[in-house]
């Protein structure tokens, strides 16, 4: 790097932390407080980008009213977050005096009951610093999977068609209904349930949802509060799972449809930077496995909709996507075949694509960025006398998500064969727990037996578990509390206790 400084905030001293110039371990769930505190310090020192604020944004005064409160003085933020005042001061100074600066975040920001608040706070501080719409700046969400951006772009959400066109918008609804030409029309123009909400509906209102068709997802390991998820899936009348292996979820299914894996199919994937890239098949799928689009087309034909699913190739489907999706409109396989591919929005065939968003204006009707004043709220569940520690969860480099692929790799299994719970040496000492000792981790939702990893790489008072491992599944423990807007669950903070396992 050409002298750029890296500030890294995480309860764990990870491989990324080693690369940082300033490492700030913090209590999971204190994000808004930290960002508000940094903004207060930046404003106090006059480091805000006054020109950017004046020309490109509105409601700055409203933001100021909140972040300048004494509650967000560095001293108070230090108490909430556990970050020393000196570190916060340094971070504010580097952010305030080095331009441009980028903020990169991942699920640590989003997987909270205040996930939307956290993201808006990141946007607030970047607008305050004028760090938007130019190279080396921005609010950069590092998505959790290679193509999660593409899945969202394709409308794999209950409230939008492709490219975030609202299902409730009458004109949009008509456009899709006309394009698809179903004789009996398409679904009503109203929002559906998010995945996490469906699980609650299944348990709270049995019979409302009868059938579920799950593709390439393993909620029996990846969703919060697995006992709840099991209860929910057992409430279904009919469950179909389409996947490449018999996952924990597929084991519960009435029908399992074998799918092709990433190396066995053509298509595109859209990365976190909105770059749509070609994805080329390397080999044929094994046995009866088929590409997802083939399975869906065949199923549709059985249901009497062969005419609406006439596809012969992934390219034909992409052509349809481009036709009905304004931000993909100028893309086709020929253009995407170039190594650099294209970033959306790319509205016309002549358009070069848009590597950097918001260069001149933001997406609100008046083109201005809106500051949203946000008060810090603690996680839905915080430590108390009975459950005295914060549990946070995440991934490790060696395994991917629910391990359905990576745990079948002998090499990766040799690197990391099972899960663990990270405990700070001081906490471990107080609990009388030794490194590698199997312990019982307990929350209000369940308990798992898991080996302890006693390490100074985790902050005192916080514990961490990777969620890849069915035999010691972190998500037995996590809290199914949701962000009120995004409905994302709070994987990153709940209250836990750890007990020694007594020989009977």
């Amino acid at each position: 790097m050409n002298g750029a400084k890296v500030i890294y905030a995480d309860p764990r001293y990870t491989a990324t932390a080693r690369q940082a110039d300033l490492y700030m371990p913090f209590v999971s769930g204190s994000d808004v407080a930290i960002l508000n505190g940094l903004m207060q310090e930046i404003i106090k020192n006059g480091w805000e980008d006054k020109e950017f604020i004046a020309k490109r944004t509105k409601d700055y005064e409203k933001l100021k009213e909140v972040v300048m409160k004494d509650a967000y003085s560095l001293e108070n933020v230090s108490k909430i977050s556990g970050i020393p005042v000196e570190s916060l001061k340094t971070a504010a100074e580097w952010l305030g005096t080095t331009k441009p600066g980028a903020i990169l975040y991942s699920m640590g920001i989003t997987q909270h009951t205040v996930g939307v608040d956290n993201v808006k706070s990141v946007a607030n501080i970047q607008m305050l610093l004028g760090n938007l719409g130019k190279p080396g700046s921005g609010v950069n969400a590092l998505r959790g999977q290679n193509n999660v951006q593409g899945a969202c772009d394709m409308g794999a959400l209950p409230v939008v068609f492709t490219a975030y066109q609202k299902v409730t918008d009458a004109a949009v609804h008509k456009k899709f209904a006309d394009a698809w030409g179903f004789p009996d029309g398409i679904c009503e123009p109203k929002n559906g349930y998010e995945v996490t909400v469906m699980m609650d509906v299944l348990t709270d209102n049995p019979g409302e949802l009868k059938c579920m068709y799950i593709m390439g997802e393993n909620p029996m390991l990846s969703d919060p509060d697995l006992n709840h998820v099991r209860h929910a899936l057992e409430s279904l009348e009919f469950l179909v799972v389409q996947d490449i292996f018999l996952t924990e979820t597929a084991e519960m299914a009435d029908v399992v449809l074998p799918a092709a894996c990433y190396a066995e199919r053509n298509g595109t994937q859209t990365s976190t930077e909105r770059r749509v890239q070609m994805w080329r098949k390397a080999q044929d799928p094994p046995g009866e496995a088929k590409e997802d689009w083939q399975i869906i087309s065949e199923l549709a034909a059985k249901m009497g909709y062969a005419k609406q699913f006439p596809y012969q190739s992934a390219e034909e489907i992409f052509t349809e996507v481009a036709a009905v999706t304004p931000s993909y409109h100028g893309m086709n396989y020929e253009r995407l075949s170039k190594p650099e591919a294209l970033h959306w929005p790319c509205p016309t065939l002549e358009h070069p694509g848009t590597p950097i968003l918001h260069k001149e204006k933001f997406s609100h009707p008046d083109g201005l960025g809106i500051f949203t004043p946000i008060e810090w709220k603690p996680p839905a569940e915080v430590p108390d006398a009975e459950y005295p520690f914060v549990l946070t969860t995440g991934r490790v480099l060696w395994h991917w998500h629910t391990g359905s692929m990576t745990r079948r790799s002998a090499t990766l299994d040799a690197e990391v064969p099972t899960g663990w719970i990270e405990i700070n040496p001081e906490d471990a000492k107080a609990l009388g727990i030794k490194d590698k000792e199997k312990v019982r981790a307990v929350t209000r939702r369940g308990s798992v037996e898991v080996p302890a990893k006693v390490t100074k790489d985790i902050m005192k008072g916080i514990m961490f578990m990777p969620f890849h491992f069915a035999e010691c599944a972190a998500n037995i423990l996590t809290n199914n509390a949701l962000d009120p807007i995004a409905k994302i669950p709070e994987f990153k903070a709940c209250a836990v206790k750890v007990e020694k396992i007594m020989e009977a």
């Binding site: 075949s337 190594p339 690197e415």
Partner: protein, 383 residues
């Protein structure tokens, strides 16, 4: 009759090959002859894939398809030696003709030392090589320094110290020195390379030293082995290629070009190694501190092979599941290849974390070579 040490200007007899190949298409014609005459069962060469930045190694058994591999691709940053090993392992009696750069040749020699390939089953047509350019950087360089859309370029070459492109509407050349001073140009390991003419191949071929009316129309061929002499003689006799003796002035110029390239290589060695020496352990520690233990450097190293399956678990000094791994993960490899690193650059080229691994292992080998004799031979014991 050709003999070891003889030098010829050689060109294809076939008009089509003459047209498709570079510098008279001699290599294409020789490979074609080797295949059609049954001297080899297959030819391994590199053909153009999606574009000129996409070099694809290809095994060919139909002589008519050899012409598809005519011409050079400087953005093909491949090493063929392990592909050769895999082919010979799975085709137990087959013989293979291979077009090799210096690094391919060195890789095969190292494999042969370890009884991993049988050189008697190979006919190696060496090509002189001034270096290769990573495809991603090449596209960036052509866009930014040449100010040409890289997709419009249909040919590139390195000649007379310049990187030259031909594109729809013209051609443009920029001095390699200038490009490299600005961080473009050849790969770092290629800059340091001192093995420009692969004389351990059976024939060493190339354009350096072809002058006069044959300039651009013939290939300079040095006969380096009995096998090479036999191929050339038979190909001439069968009418596949035509030759005439290289003229003294051409031989002199060939020496000068090679000498200039070696001087440049030594200049880069001095520059790179001195910079590294100023903080050797600090640099190695810092750079390898980004390692994500993907094993790409090991899998692609021509000298590191198979026993590695066992290494993927736990060893005494490299604990499983750590990122970055214990420094021994890299020190172990550096030690293993300390007198065998051929500076092919694959470890560095394919490292997803951009760790300059070839710089480290090359520095270690050259330092060791300057201090210790004799060099590696497989020890007849295990201890």
């Amino acid at each position: 009759m050709a003999a070891i040490g003889d030098m010829f200007y050689t060109w294809a007899a076939d008009a089509d090959v003459l047209k498709k190949g570079e510098c008279g298409g001699a290599i294409t014609a020789l490979q074609q002859y080797a295949l059609s005459s049954g001297m080899v069962d297959a030819v391994l060469a590199v053909r153009k894939g999606a574009d000129i930045y996409d070099a694809v190694p290809t095994f060919i058994t139909n002589p008519a398809e050899v012409a598809e591999t005519a011409g050079s691709l400087h953005c093909g940053t491949l090493l063929l030696s392990k592909l050769v090993k895999d082919y010979l392992d799975s085709n137990k009696t087959a013989r293979l003709g291979v077009t090799v750069k210096g690094c391919d040749t060195m890789g095969l020699i190292e494999l042969a030392k370890r009884d991993a390939v049988d050189l008697d089953r190979l006919i190696l047509l060496g090509v002189n090589c001034g270096g290769s350019v990573s495809p991603v950087l090449a596209r960036k360089m052509i866009r930014e320094k040449f100010e040409v859309d890289p997709d419009l370029v249909h040919k590139e070459e390195i000649d007379k110290g310049q990187f030259i492109i031909e594109y729809e509407g013209g051609h443009k050349g920029i001095k390699i020195d200038d490009l490299e001073d600005e961080g473009y140009g050849r790969r770092s390991n290629c800059r340091r390379c001192l093995y420009k003419v692969p004389r351990q191949a059976d024939l060493a071929c190339g354009n350096w030293g072809v002058i006069g009316d044959k300039a651009g129309k013939a290939t300079f061929v040095e006969v380096c082995s009995k096998k090479g002499a036999n191929l050339l003689d038979a190909a001439v006799k069968a009418g596949a290629v035509k030759t005439e003796p290289a003229i003294p002035k051409g031989i002199e110029i060939r020496g000068k070009v090679e000498g200039a390239m070696l001087n440049l290589g030594n200049k880069w060695r001095k520059k790179n190694f001195e910079a590294l020496a100023s903080d050797l352990w600090g640099t190695i520690g810092r750079e390898t501190g980004r390692c994500i233990k993907c094993y790409s450097c090991i899998e692609n190293c021509p000298v590191c092979f198979p026993a590695a399956e066992d290494l993927k678990g736990k060893s005494r000094m490299v604990i499983s599941g750590e990122v970055p791994p214990n420094p021994m993960f890299h020190l172990r490899r550096f030690a293993h290849i300390s007198d065998s690193c051929i500076n092919c650059g694959q470890c560095e080229e394919l490292c997803p974390m951009d760790i300059p691994l070839a710089l480290f292992s090359h520095a270690i080998r050259t330092e060791g070579d300057s201090a210790f004799e004799p060099k590696l031979g497989k020890a007849p014991y295990t201890n």
